[in-house]
Subunit: 260 residues, 3 copies
């Protein structure tokens, strides 16, 4: 069974490689994929957003390990969540919760069985000592209920709320990718009733008319708004970098208005 790893460990330190060593020591047949280790340090929402938009592209049964864990070593719980077609492993701080928006958990397990964890467990690296070994055992076929005790719920993050009137939707920038594209929390469905060419997208002083089909619909260097690969309204610059150009930041408000 496939195991994916998502962390804020970056690429300088050997921490991710050490997690893989632990996995292969327990389960030499494991298949491990790096989803991203570039989650901004301790940014639980960013980690939650990444895994939310990735899980649908993985085969049934995939085990997703998500370690963005500012509370490591404290009393926060370590969780295994079983859903239709996937497992999620990570700290109980909300980082797993957005991935559950479309799939209700079947079972939530608090990882309390030390037999399936490295001993002694460090206070600073549960990726190595708890999540990696549990993922490896799970991929070997160990039943979830053996790994800990059932829990009733988990900490959930809220998808940032939209403010809607009959003629406007107000949202915000929730993610900025390496190309400087600005991802908002406004989904394709939120805009679906309005013809794309009637929409006006407003960010600060910037106003974009209509939704384009792709970046190349405008001239190089021009702003463009479209529905991106995560199904979200995105503001971009064709062959440019919208974030540097606009100075926009995560959390900045974006308004969509129309006049039918």
């Amino acid at each position: 069974m496939l195991i994916t790893l998502t962390t804020d460990f970056g690429y300088q330190d050997p921490f991710v490689g050490i997690m893989k060593g632990v996995i292969f020591s327990i389960n030499p047949q494991a298949q491990v994929i790096d989803l991203s280790h570039g989650v901004p340090a301790e940014d639980v929402f960013a980690g939650a957003l990444l895994i939310q938009h990735a899980v649908r592209y993985f085969p049934p049964g995939t085990i997703h390990v998500v370690v963005v864990d500012p509370g490591v070593g404290s009393s926060r719980n370590a969780l295994l969540i079983e859903c239709e077609g996937m497992y999620l492993l990570g700290p109980d701080n909300g980082v797993l919760s957005l991935a559950l928006e479309e799939r209700r958990p079947r079972r939530i397990i608090r990882l309390s069985n030390a037999t399936y964890q490295l001993q002694p467990t460090s206070a600073t690296f549960h990726g190595r000592d708890i999540f990696a070994p549990v993922a490896a055992h799970l991929a070997l076929g160990t039943a979830p209920e053996i790994l800990g005790r059932s829990a009733d719920n988990l900490i959930r993050l809220a998808w940032p709320k939209l403010v809607k009137t009959g003629r406007t939707i107000k949202g915000e920038i929730v993610y900025i990718d390496v190309f400087g594209n600005l991802f908002t929390n406004i989904r394709a469905d939120d805009l679906a009733p309005v013809p794309p060419d009637k929409l006006k997208i407003i960010l600060g002083n910037l106003s974009i008319h209509g939704l384009a089909q792709n970046y190349a619909a405008v001239e190089p260097g021009d702003y463009v708004a479209l529905i991106n690969s995560w199904g979200l309204l995105e503001i971009a610059v064709y062959k440019g970098h919208a974030q540097k150009r606009s100075g926009a930041m995560i959390g900045d408000k974006v308004e969509v208005a129309w006049d039918l």
Copy 2:
């Protein structure tokens, strides 16, 4: 069959991991290697250069996926190129062309068969929706002609021209690696007729006498010129960083002169 991935997606976003999810969903036995995801954003020439100097080190039959694709979603074609001993997959913008300098394409296929692509295809992420699934199907044994229609040619980038006289060759810096080493477009073969100790290598105010066998031929901190692991003339600083030291940039002219 081995699949390699080369992109300008960087390491912060989950885009490469999502491509792997698509590949393993279709072909659970795939072997996937990251060649580089640090191609400078939308730098088609840099991507072409990387794959050109890597393909000879991979086993026969390897499928190389190269996604540096500023025109994603526009009318540019998506290509599969079959050569002796390898397949290349990527947009038709020249990024695949330098790898063909030594190996003529046997067949060029425009990837038009939507059955082997994710549906609906996004306008912004063909790595996920076209190139990853096609690579996975190809590795499963799907015949190239099933994946699309034959095309006659592809867009080609030119290797930057050298200006040669009887006693000089003028080239330029085409790549700078993480150590600050300056790679030029002058190849070992271009210099072969002249004894290495007769050569003078000139970059701006800097003049280096002779080609060395290795970095350690000079004192730490000194400039050195040699033929590097890509078979190209390189200017380096032993235990130092030639780019920071010299301020040189990609495109800067380099002249080699000799007096026999």
Copy 3:
């Protein structure tokens, strides 16, 4: 058999991917893990430190390739070291030596058999031409003694010395991770005889009282000292970045004092 790769090649260039191409060309069944390619350029001690604290987490028989090699192409030797339960491959510049602190080498081989290396061998990329092919052959079962000639010793780095009195230990910062945590060369064992709450940890003007069990033992934004996942005394800021906050650098002195 598992092969791990640790280098200072970074993630921009395709050098690591090319090494994997060489490995899979020789040994299509190889399993390759990236430990880290973010070792600071030519920082032999940092590379030695990383591999030292990683090897215990890998399965018996793992082959660790460590290429931090400012002297590439010079007369420095290329080594294979066989220990109990693992192999180490890398240049003879000390980068392999700290991993031998707990495990004495059984055999040291100078990699002199060109048959098991790429030909011609470049002067600038022994990761590709020597270490990758040797690792691949070793994983195929080639006996170490076939790969070169026995050597008696290797260049060793010293673990930076502590200065101890009856009431103080003076050490220094040896590593700083991506979270800004400051790793010292003072080990848990060095502090073991003293009750943790009697210790005072001093870095410049900063003084921390007592060793904590985990980061969350203090308020967010406060400094904390603890034994970290490498068994080393660490100074951190809970939900913060101790390096940026303190301005501390590798090599800065850290003193631990107690008064029983």
